[in-house]
């Protein structure tokens, strides 16, 4: 169902900064899960009904027209996000019907950091196969 996000659904957060993951052990840093301000919403893409190719294609769209590199993505189960007292709200956009936002962030930055640290801990980094070697 597209209207609600099940706790077992996988979400992808695109890694568009080289400093958002640790090259030495291919893990994700909390930096990738800190939402920008105004509004405090973090963009993710639901895996729902998408193939691997579809997921990477959407990611390439995120960085197209910018000097950024798509280094990979961080996959995390929605349940880990909900466990941090956050919600996942579907927010389809023209290029990405699976787009969603993680919302419900605290106004206190240190609390947001704690939540992001826990989510990053549960996330799995998947390197972009087209990005070349991601070694230290």
């Amino acid at each position: 169902m597209i209207g609600s996000v099940a706790p077992s659904e996988l979400l992808a957060r695109y890694i568009t900064a080289s400093k958002w993951f640790r090259k030495q052990d291919q893990t994700v840093k909390q930096d990738a899960f800190i939402p920008p301000d105004e509004p405090l919403e973090l963009s993710v893409t639901r895996h729902l009904n998408l193939t691997e190719n579809d997921i990477w294609s959407i990611g390439r769209g995120v960085v197209s027209g910018t000097p950024r590199t798509l280094h990979g993505r961080a996959d995390v189960e929605t349940g880990h996000v909900i466990a941090q007292k956050l919600s996942v709200v579907p927010q389809p956009v023209p290029d990405n019907p699976n787009h969603a936002n993680i919302v419900g962030w605290s106004l206190d930055k240190d609390v947001r950091k704690m939540r992001a640290l826990e989510i990053a801990r549960a996330a799995r980094f998947v390197a972009n196969p087209d990005a070349g070697p991601q070694t230290p």
Partner: protein, 163 residues
Amino acid sequence: MTTIAMPLTISGYADETKAGAGFVAQAREKIFEILQMSNALGFAAKGTFQQLDETFEECSSEGWDGERAKPISGEVLQCAKAFLKSFPLGIEAPEVGAEPDGAITLEWYRSSNRVISISINPGGWLYYAAIIGATRRHGMDFALFDVSEDLLGLISQVTRTMK
């Protein structure tokens, strides 16, 4: 781990000794710079300040993440440098990063169970979060003050060698 504390401010001098105090402060600053260049002691030789400059360059434009990221400002860069200069010498160098809200991050990491991340935000505010085993700690401070004993303790708990 051996650390060397060098306070950034010199106080307690009477007016008539201001010139002397100035000389001592200059000499102290010079010694500090030399020690910073020591591989074993300083963040400068470990490349941390260079990493800060590179991060600033990479993330100083609007939408640097391909989405809505705020640019890192020169003010945040200077706050991060001032904050790191307040550390005692001999502390392990952090990994520098950036957050989409315009903050610079300093991370000390051993594993997903031993990690501390400190954000230097616009306005000079500093926020931290740490996971050390079953312990969770988060809070805030002011980046233009010297690093607190509490934060140094958390960093030490993350980086110390387990026996």
